[in-house]
Symmetry: C2
Subunit: 340 residues, 2 copies
């Protein structure tokens, strides 16, 4: 919904769900408008005010509509656990509990549902979370996408952790924990309609080992997992809140050869494609390189400093390998619906 | 999924979502099987173990797929708030917080989404709950039902309240707080395909005033809101857990004339149709009548004692007005998909 919408026949488009500008406007102008001050739409996880002295709980929620339901490296079940657990982890919380909503389309094979249920259980075990509440709805054939899931997660924030996108200042560095766009590309390749195939796996996994490491640094300002909209969209959110320019270095940004190849064929930009097991973090300048070194030693070999916050108008600049500059615009059209 | 399923081509049917036998088997044999002891599938709201001394928090979740999205007496937005708030209320908790998942089908009119968002906000205000976390996904035209919602609710259990279906004993009375099947019938009438119309409103609302009143009685054993599957399905759950016979009195059970008329035309049984603002409660025999009298004085004029738990095999008997008996079987085929 654009600000100059005056006609009454406006309808939802796929671009309202892509994590970019239209989605932000939909949330700000419809949901936040109606729900008033109830909802902080800018955080990955919100404080759960429980009057429980000595503990600090966070809550987050996410919906999952990935197509196909099973893809190389994961499925909608593991994704629904990791996605919500990761939103808690990047907020500095230890994930503890989940609720699970299941919307099944009539005709879904029972065997698929059984595999995905077991995948959910394995992911919960890996992440140390427990499902406390669940609900199942079945919709008619032709009124669903096989299976949609929603998970709400509750986690305990580590004592003394203070993170927030608003804490980022010019001079801060942006790091990324690994290659970008693997998940988006792997899901795309798994869709028959693209007529491509490859050995690429989704990177979907828990980011807790990464966030645990980064939380050691007092200079850590902010973390986010670059899902829908990719690292470019995280950079835009930072530029917008910090009122500053985000400069990303193309020669540092780790992109797998296969991802770059698929993007060239299909005309996509890997910086806008989803990862589901990476972390983008903003750190004060003196700790960015040491933090990356520790991550590399932990096995995150592609971790790197990918950018810097500079004084200047809120925008995202990609400094290309040849020393040129390219503006990365805010995502508008949806390149890849139902990627997560 | 029946217990004797041996073929590998089993698929989900609408009956897996109707609150009856197939749904229970799906939950027990697929989800509970995979998730092991993580999930108590028999409670309306589960304990949220927060290590918060002096407080006792419950969590519940529910998905909403009602068609049409707006119906006389409510819409999917108010339903998504009331449905989850009611699961907390019948568990003896005061609802406090919600998370909200939105799955929008491409093409939904923005004006509809705006009306429903405001309806969500009004319902939250009425119920005294706050939405802390939200997420929006958009799916392609033809892959959704306009709008699906999921809400997870967190509430604080009243001190000293101990309720549970397993506390019900032979001799206990079952009461219902008002007419049954209004919601199911109103939604049905709102669907053009039935070619019927009427002035009936859905009963969808918060049941907190009812549960607050019933919680005063030490003889209160258990409360549930008779949604999918209606009062007959609540009675079956009780019969199954208590290992006893549930006898319902047709001449007491309050059914609106319009509901009975529509059921006669379409061949439905009102005892299986959803209510979204009623409470079924089990109480010890000596307090059932006084509890009903108080409810009537509070304005719930149709509240009544509708049944009794008897020693005997687990089954549900309807004692008809003429003194005969009819077995009410466990719901199997789905009479009304997408009713909530």
């Amino acid at each position: 919904m654009s600000k100059n919408r005056t006609h009454t026949d406006a309808r939802i488009t796929l671009a309202h769900g892509n994590g970019g500008r239209l989605m932000r406007e939909l949330i700000d102008e419809v949901f936040a408008q109606a729900l008033g001050s109830q909802l902080d739409t800018r955080v990955d996880a919100a404080r759960l005010p429980l009057n429980a002295p000595g503990s600090d709980w966070l809550i987050t929620t996410d919906g999952f509509t990935v197509e196909p339901l099973e893809f190389p490296g994961g499925d909608i079940g593991s994704l629904a656990v990791h996605g919500t657990v990761n939103d808690l982890a990047v907020s500095g919380a230890t994930p503890r509990y989940l609720s699970l909503n299941v919307f099944i389309e009539e005709g879904l094979e029972m065997a698929v549902l059984e595999r995905i249920s077991h995948s959910i259980a394995r992911a919960c075990e890996t992440c140390g979370v427990r499902i406390l509440a669940g609900d199942t709805k079945v919709v008619r054939h032709g009124q669903g996408g096989g299976l949609y899931l929603a998970t709400t997660g509750i986690g305990e924030r580590r004592h003394g952790v203070e993170l927030g996108i608003e804490r980022i200042q010019p001079g801060d560095r942006l790091i990324v924990s690994g290659t970008v766009g693997d998940h988006g590309t792997a899901v795309m390749l798994a869709r028959e309609q693209f007529g491509l195939s490859g050995n690429l796996l989704s990177d979907a996994t828990s980011v807790a080992p990464i966030t645990e490491s980064l939380l050691q640094w007092p200079g850590l300002r902010f973390m986010r997992d670059p899902t829908r909209g990719g690292v470019a969209t995280v950079a835009h959110d930072i530029a917008s809140v910090a009122g500053a320019t985000v400069r990303l270095f193309e020669k540092c940004l780790p992109v797998r050869k296969e991802v770059r190849g698929v993007c060239e064929i299909l005309g996509y930009d890997p910086y806008y494609l989803a990862s589901e097991g990476r972390v983008v973090a903003a750190l004060s300048p003196e700790v960015a390189e040491p933090a990356v070194e520790i991550l590399q030693r932990l096995g995150f070999h592609d971790a790197c400093v990918m950018g810097v916050i500079e004084p200047g108008p809120p925008r995202v600049i990609l400094q290309t390998g040849l020393g040129g500059e390219r503006i990365l615009p805010e995502l508008e059209d949806d390149p890849l619906p139902r990627i997560c």
